[in-house]
Symmetry: C2
Subunit: 398 residues, 2 copies
């Protein structure tokens, strides 16, 4: 066995200080979170001197703000065991003496703007949410971080491209353009959104067509995610890097992305092979882009969409406001007269953008423009957006 | 401005609980670390109820184990300002009441096996270490996570591939195979190792030739990094996933990698267009692979190499032991009779593998086998390996 030398040297090194030979050989033996066979989960933290240790997570009762007290066991280990949890990706943190703290036993974490939380996944059986968000024993697509030229924004810009399993072997593929929300970047859909796992699993089970998924950066004042461009290792804020203005909008600059993809990937071209969708600001971008280029996409998805971005007049976001906006009416008329195969609107019942989406649906209804509508529980959260992607991906290119 | 709506809605959401509408709009206003113009650095942490707050980092005096007490300022904020630091990538954590804690104001962190530490970079001027490890305003290569077939290991496996800026435009490129150490995986060189930044910057300044860099996973019992394959979201241990044996070694299975790269990328073929190097276990892999396939590489780099992996007999790692091993002597003889253009050995003065490397150099000297040697300060640490990559990359394909 080739491990022998390393076992010996690792043991020797543990006695050295961590910075002298790097933190290579640190770690602890605590298992947390431990997902049990019955889908309950035990959380453990070693905190011998703590006064209070709490667990905060999106699976805990929202009546108590998602916070629960943990119990001190022997040896300074605090623990809490949840009830059985339904299949899902869940997020949590510890709170020690009132301060939030990542779980040092769990290397899996996601960043949302400037905040990390740990996560874990519950899966019970094939095709449940936990299964769809997990890496399973199915063929995997590749995930590429690529730089493209945007003459419109006068920048080279970074985006994430998913190519489906088997892409290298030949063939041409349709393309889904998948857009993030405000505060996100080209990393968001593959981290918080589990997009490559969702696509791997849906394609492997034949529920979605093999497709390329393009996840650009929607912050037009940024070249890339924080730390990935020359602006340095800044702390991200709500709308990307706050220090500069962009010279064009996402919809103005979007053709640069399509051009790069169609020139550099094995792509089926034409409206019937292009889909676009996005969440929140990315839903607003999908709304704007699809009406600006009415013959570009046959499949359009608005997830919790921030319609009418930049608008400062609430009256404009009502049925009456839309009816009295002749430029808007003409754009929407042109789009729907091009007969997109799918115009899909999804939103949660408690989403703060529910009302403007409802008014927009009234407008579409009043003109008999054909669309599909999906309403979920809850609000403006990634749990919903992962579900919306799962549903939308099964409806396109068929 | 398109930001108006989002500013309004963000303000509205801050009053909601974080889990109800996700942690999208959290964060704090503390700046930490703050790199000053004079290259001193201020660290800040909000910990109003803490009894002790310390800073632990690889830039602090090792005489005190790299730990220093922070001072409580007003409003519960603790701070520490370092002296002027030399250009470098530095790692740190906070220690509150004796427990390690990541900096909640710094989103930049690296994982080493199961432990995260925050990091920051000091750069003063072009081409210093901090510059080489930073993303600068130069053309960027793409970083790809791709799945290849390894018939030898009977697995599909994941690796990281860097393609240099301009790759899409045409031309063929030489290939550097860059191997990680025990505890690492196909993520290590692009996170801890800053390989894509080093290559972008060296290529942009003309100091290195444009090349493809291939970073495979050297744990032959794993398909991929933790969480990226079907073994689930396990906690990584020293030699990858501990639960299974591998059916072949890295050197036995290495041609599967070369085959995939040469079939799927625009690659210049032949020995003169292939280089291999690696750190620690990856140095051992480079040592094994280069002697197993003496006509595969013209450029070979051993960084703090774990030579003779799997050996249990210290006598074998001496000059006398090597001289008495006829099979080993024949392999090395065959390799050096094929006249590799560069055989480069680098190690730090306090590295725990220093002695076996020194004995190996004695052996090479006694046979007049031509190699280059670079000795640095310090031991088995990433700071050294980033420097070794920087030096090696400038010596190859020229």
């Amino acid at each position: 066995m080739r491990r022998k030398l390393f076992c010996l040297t690792a043991c020797a090194l543990i006695t050295l200080t961590s910075w002298a030979q790097q933190a290579l050989f640190n770690g602890n033996d605590i298992v947390s979170p431990e997902v049990k066979n019955d889908c309950s989960v035990t959380f453990r933290l070693y905190a011998p001197k703590a006064i209070t240790v709490q667990l905060t997570g999106d699976f805990l009762s929202q009546e108590k703000n998602g916070i629960i007290n943990m119990t001190e066991e022997k040896n300074g280990i605090w623990s809490y065991t949840s009830e059985k949890l339904a299949p899902e990706l869940y997020s949590y943190k510890f709170r020690i003496n009132g301060m939030d703290y990542l779980d040092p036993s769990n290397i899996y974490m996601n960043r949302d703007i400037a905040t990390y939380t740990n996560f874990f996944i519950i899966k019970e059986k094939k095709d449940d949410r936990g299964y769809l968000y997990s890496v399973n024993a199915v063929p995997h697509g590749n995930v590429l971080k690529v730089w493209y030229d945007s003459p419109t924004l006068k920048m080279k810009r970074r985006m994430t491209v998913y190519t489906p399993a088997g892409y290298e072997k030949g063939g041409k593929y349709p393309v889904l353009y998948l857009l993030h929300g405000a505060g996100g970047d080209e990393e968001a859909w593959t981290t918080l959104g589990r997009a490559s796992q969702i696509m791997d699993n849906l394609i492997a089970s034949g529920k979605a067509k093999p497709m390329i998924v393009v996840m650009p950066n929607g912050n037009t004042n940024c070249e890339a995610a924080p730390g990935e461009w020359s602006k340095g290792m800044y702390k991200p804020s709500f709308m990307g890097h706050a220090g500069s203005k962009s010279i064009a909008t996402m919809d103005e600059s979007f053709p640069d992305i399509v051009k790069y993809i169609e020139n550099n990937y094995k792509v089926l071209k034409g409206k019937n092979n292009r889909a676009i969708c996005g969440l929140s600001m990315g839903g607003g971008h999908s709304f704007d882009i699809s009406k600006r280029y009415p013959n570009m996409f046959n499949y359009i998805g608005l997830f919790s969409a921030a319609l009418f971005m930049g608008n400062n007049n609430p009256q404009k976001e009502t049925l009456e406001g839309m009816e009295s906006d002749s430029a808007f009416k003409k754009e929407i008329s042109t789009l729907f007269n091009a007969h997109p195969k799918l115009y899909w609107i999804a939103i949660g019942k408690t989403d703060f953008l529910y009302k403007s989406n409802a008014e927009y649906r009234k407008f579409l209804d009043s003109h008999k423009y054909k669309y599909e509508y999906y309403e979920s529980e809850d609000g403006h959260i990634w749990r919903n957006w992962r579900v919306y992607l799962t549903l939308f991906a099964q409806k396109i290119f068929k």
